[in-house]
């Protein structure tokens, strides 16, 4: 090996040398080198579009040998992968961000989908059941092998994916944003599992935006920026500074990850009292339980809680009853009671809700920026039902400038924008409705550090303009960083409140745990 530092330790299991890959005129990777040692957890970080996914697709053979420059050495031998089967045969297994499980099949059927234990072409169900049980035990999942995927949560599905990888004699496990949609407990469990694998000699590559997780489990960290390797940090050489990673990722100093703001808080403008909602299918399940909330003008209120605490359900039931049944409670704006019986009325009343899932619920992906921006307030660019295309275009251009949406022009399809820019389009759509109360549900999920900062700036601007802002987030540091006050939700009810000054992850968790303890 050329790198003398890596010699005394274990030899590299994987070495990617001088990888370059272009799409037309766009260079996605240029001369990237990436070395992974046997038995380590190696984190790969970088902003969206830095080339992480492309690099992993080159490694797995999605982009076949010949479509890129450079060489891949696995176990010290040069390899030419022509498709995923080639790389899987050597034990290189990728678990993608979008899980590839079939919802209406059982756990066992999913795990052994491509390679079921069979005799004379007939699947041996008993054997499959036994092997699945063994695998599930390894990943610490206590579900029956014949449980359908659709009946288990995302966190458990992630574990099934890992069990599936284990069934294929994995040697190098690649996880692309595995904790993006997991709550804190599930994330922690998953990271523990990775550590356990390490002790069994399985090597992992972890792609993640969550720097706290990375610094917790990673042995080494490689940073990519604009398709190039910026460098590799060794976590055992000394404590890793998260700000140092961020600096390398974005190549600019972020004062802090959260913009400073002097809150100018006025009177209470938005009040929700005794809000309750029931599950749309299981009508005896109360998901939101007598929630009351007051938000002042210029105030940013965070709602914290574990996944499934009922935060999104609360927001959506409030926003024009778009979720749930038997919704009761009152909502007042400036002391006047609001009619929120459908979404249209909720928007008219001055509410805006930025959904947690921007692709499924936020955007019309095949449509351009212009049409998405005007969608929730077409009345603002039309008269007597006829759209004024020029007024509409000017509105879109204004927001594109104000929000710094990076695109060729306002006629670009939103499906082709990056996550951060898509989120800015969704925000533009809601700002154009001129809301008094803005509810943002996971506003920065899956967005890179730079774009996150910009979104926080926008949120601050809105608050400073005297709006009532409610932010729902699973990332506690984010809530602590931007909110004036954080309410804690647990199993459908508000169980605690911490002010921005005194908010720490510990006392938020304590509020949740205290309630949990009381229930047990």
């Amino acid at each position: 090996m050329l790198d003398p530092v890596s010699l005394p330790e274990k030899p590299p299991i994987l070495e990617m040398r001088g990888i370059s890959k272009s799409f037309g005129a766009v260079k996605a990777l240029s001369d990237v080198s990436f070395t992974v040692r046997e038995g380590e957890i190696h984190a790969l970080v970088g902003e969206n579009g830095a080339g992480k996914s492309t690099l992993m697709k080159v490694l797995s053979g999605v982009y076949p040998h010949g479509s890129y420059e450079g060489s891949i050495l696995f176990d010290g031998e040069e390899r030419h992968f022509h498709n995923i089967n080639n790389s899987e045969a050597l034990g290189i297994i990728i678990i993608h961000q979008e899980l590839a499980l079939i919802p209406l099949m059982s756990i066992a059927e999913n795990i052994f989908l491509t390679h079921p234990p069979a005799r004379h072409g007939i699947i041996d169900r008993g054997e499959r059941h036994r092997r699945t049980q063994a695998l599930l035990a390894k990943v610490g999942l206590s579900e029956q092998p014949d449980t359908l995927i659709t009946n288990i949560g995302v966190g458990k599905q992630q574990l099934v994916e890992i069990a599936k990888a284990l069934s294929k004699d994995v040697r190098l496990l690649i996880l692309d944003e595995p904790t993006a949609s997991l709550n804190e407990t599930d994330s922690a469990a998953l990271l523990e599992l990775l550590k356990e694998f390490r002790s069994h000699g399985i090597t992992s590559i972890l792609i993640s935006h969550k720097l706290n997780e990375i610094s917790e489990v990673a042995d080494r960290i490689t940073v990519l920026r604009d398709g190039r390797t910026v460098g590799t940090l060794d976590c055992h050489a000394g404590p890793v500074d998260e700000d140092e990673i961020v600096r390398r990722m974005v190549d600019r100093d972020l004062e802090s990850r959260y913009p400073k703001r002097e809150p100018k808080i006025g009177d209470v403008i938005f009040e929700v009292e005794n809000w309750s909602a029931y599950h749309p299918m299981h009508s005896d399940r109360q998901v939101v339980k007598n929630v009351s909330l007051k938000v002042r003008a210029g105030e940013i209120v965070g709602i914290s809680g574990l996944m499934g605490a009922g935060r999104t359900e609360f927001a959506m039931s409030l926003f024009g009853r778009s979720w749930g049944r038997h919704i009761t409670g009152t909502a007042k704006l400036h002391g006047k009671e609001l009619d929120l019986s459908d979404v249209h009325k909720a928007i008219k009343a001055g509410l805006a809700y930025v959904t947690e899932d921007r692709k499924q619920l936020g955007l019309i992906l095949p449509e351009d920026i212009r049409k998405n921006v005007s969608l929730a307030h077409l009345g603002g660019v039309s008269s007597r039902g006829v759209i004024d295309d020029i007024a509409e275009m000017k509105v879109a251009q204004e927001f594109r400038g104000r929000m710094r949406i990076r695109s060729h022009n306002v006629y670009q399809e939103t499906g082709k924008l990056s996550g951060g820019n898509q989120q800015k389009v969704v925000l533009s759509k809601w700002l154009f409705t001129g809301p008094e109360v803005l509810i943002l549900d996971e506003p920065t999920r899956g967005i890179d550090v730079g774009a996150k900062y910009e979104i926080y700036m926008i949120i601050n601007e809105l608050a400073d303009a005297g709006k009532a802002v409610i932010v729902i987030s699973s990332e506690m540091p984010e809530l602590i960083g931007i909110c004036d006050r954080i309410v804690v939700m647990h199993e459908g009810a508000f169980v605690g409140e911490v002010s921005g000054e005194g908010a720490t992850q510990e006392n938020i968790m304590r509020a949740i745990m205290r309630r949990k303890g009381r229930e047990e």
């Binding site: 778009s322 019309i364 095949p366 449509e367 295309d389 022009n409 006629y411």
Partner: protein
């Protein structure tokens, strides 16, 4: 930070503009190519005045129904019942007008209302009851085909009163006596239509330039409008050389203009595309999605009824076979015209061009003496091919 306003105002090169809008022009180019092909293959018969008039008459009801179908498809649904509904309405018209001797105007209004009611019933099940439109309208297809045979007693009813026949086989009243075999009024009508189109284009361009947002190169604009003038003028000339402008062509032109406007310029049109593009996102943006889907089915019912009346007037009888298989031609026209089966994508002009593309092929192949068997094979392949090309272009 770059100023975001820069890119939009720069006029594109003619080639760049054509490339960006290939999808729109590709359809038209295909139609022209097919017309030229059959014109040569049939030794000039295709564009004889009589035949051009025939193509218009033969395809009028397909075009009328395709306007409604396009909107249904854009919302992400489908209506398989239109052929049966058209046939049923034709039978109903026969019953009321011929057997019961009712006034033709009353019958037309009643038939359109029944069409709306049929659309409302099917739309209710699709929009409010959330039953897949494929199933609802498959049921409708069987129900209305059966009802039609029931009211007709499996025999044809006819003939219709002459005034009703004029709906399909009548021509515009000539105010000026024809000169040299040319129906002057009809020809002038055609020219006026072309001039209105060009004036509209000019006004739109002027408005965009004044706001600095025009992207179409000037040369391209001139060429496009000259082609419109030449194309519409030539077709008007051909039609006017036969017997003048058919009434049904006027109905068609008005409907095409109205639905183009509705789908591209109005709030309702925009919302329909949003529903098809992402129903949940549209709903969470305050759009009343169920009501819109319901509306598109009511609209489809009315247009299917109108199509049924036109067919009945053209055949001059209500027969149990009328309308059979129309749904396939209508749906094919929309898909050939670039509509997406997943919803959210499709244009009225595309559907109209798609309908005429199928119509010209039908007509041309019949003139060439190709049997109905191979005509179907070729039409099927063209449908598949057109959609493949479209999908390929999308992926690029």
């Amino acid at each position: 930070m770059s100023t975001p306003q820069e890119a939009i105002t720069a006029p594109q090169s003619a080639a760049g503009f054509l490339k960006d809008n290939l999808r729109d022009f590709g359809m038209l180019i295909s139609l022209v190519a097919i017309v030229i092909f059959f014109q040569i293959a049939t030794g000039g018969v295709l564009l004889k005045p009589l035949n051009v008039t025939n193509i218009v008459l033969q395809n009028s009801y397909i075009v009328i129904m395709a306007l409604g179908m396009l909107m249904v498809i854009v919302t992400g649904h489908i209506d398989l019942s239109v052929g049966s509904v058209a046939g049923f309405i034709g039978g109903l018209a026969g019953l009321m007008m011929v057997k019961l001797g009712m006034n033709f105007a009353v019958v037309i209004v009643a038939c359109l209302a029944v069409g709306a009611l049929i659309g409302a019933i099917q739309g209710y099940f699709v929009a409010y009851f959330k039953i897949p439109s494929f199933i609802v309208t498959l049921a409708g297809m069987l129900v209305f085909r059966g009802l039609m045979i029931a009211i007709l007693g499996s025999q044809a009813i006819g003939p219709f009163p002459p005034i009703f026949q004029k709906l399909s086989s009548g021509y515009v009243v000539e105010l000026i006596s024809s000169a040299g075999g040319l129906y002057i009024t009809s020809f002038l009508l055609g020219l006026v239509l072309a001039i209105i189109l060009i004036m509209q284009n000019l006004a739109g361009r002027k408005r965009r330039i004044s706001h600095g947002v025009e992207t179409e190169p000037f040369g391209f604009f001139v060429a496009k409008n000259l082609l419109i003038l030449a194309g519409v003028g030539y077709i008007a000339f051909l039609i006017s050389s036969h017997r003048g402008m058919p009434n049904v062509l006027i109905i068609m032109a008005v409907l095409i203009a109205a639905y183009s406007f509705l789908t591209t310029r109005t709030v309702i049109g925009r919302q329909i595309y949003a529903v098809g593009g992402n129903a949940r996102a549209a709903e969470l943006s305050g759009i009343k999605t169920t009501r819109l889907v319901f509306f598109t089915f009511v609209n489809m019912g009315v247009l299917a009824a109108l199509g049924g009346l036109v067919v009945a007037a053209r055949l001059n009888s209500a027969t149990p076979k009328a309308g059979a298989g129309f749904e396939l031609d209508v749906i094919a026209a929309c898909f050939i015209g670039g509509a997406s089966a997943y919803g959210g994508v499709g244009k009225v002009t595309g559907a109209v061009i798609g309908a005429f593309l199928m119509g010209v092929m039908n007509n041309g192949m019949s003139i060439l003496g190709i049997g109905i068997d191979y005509q179907q094979v070729i039409k099927g392949l063209v449908l598949l091919g057109a959609v493949c090309v479209d999908v390929y272009n999308q992926r690029r």
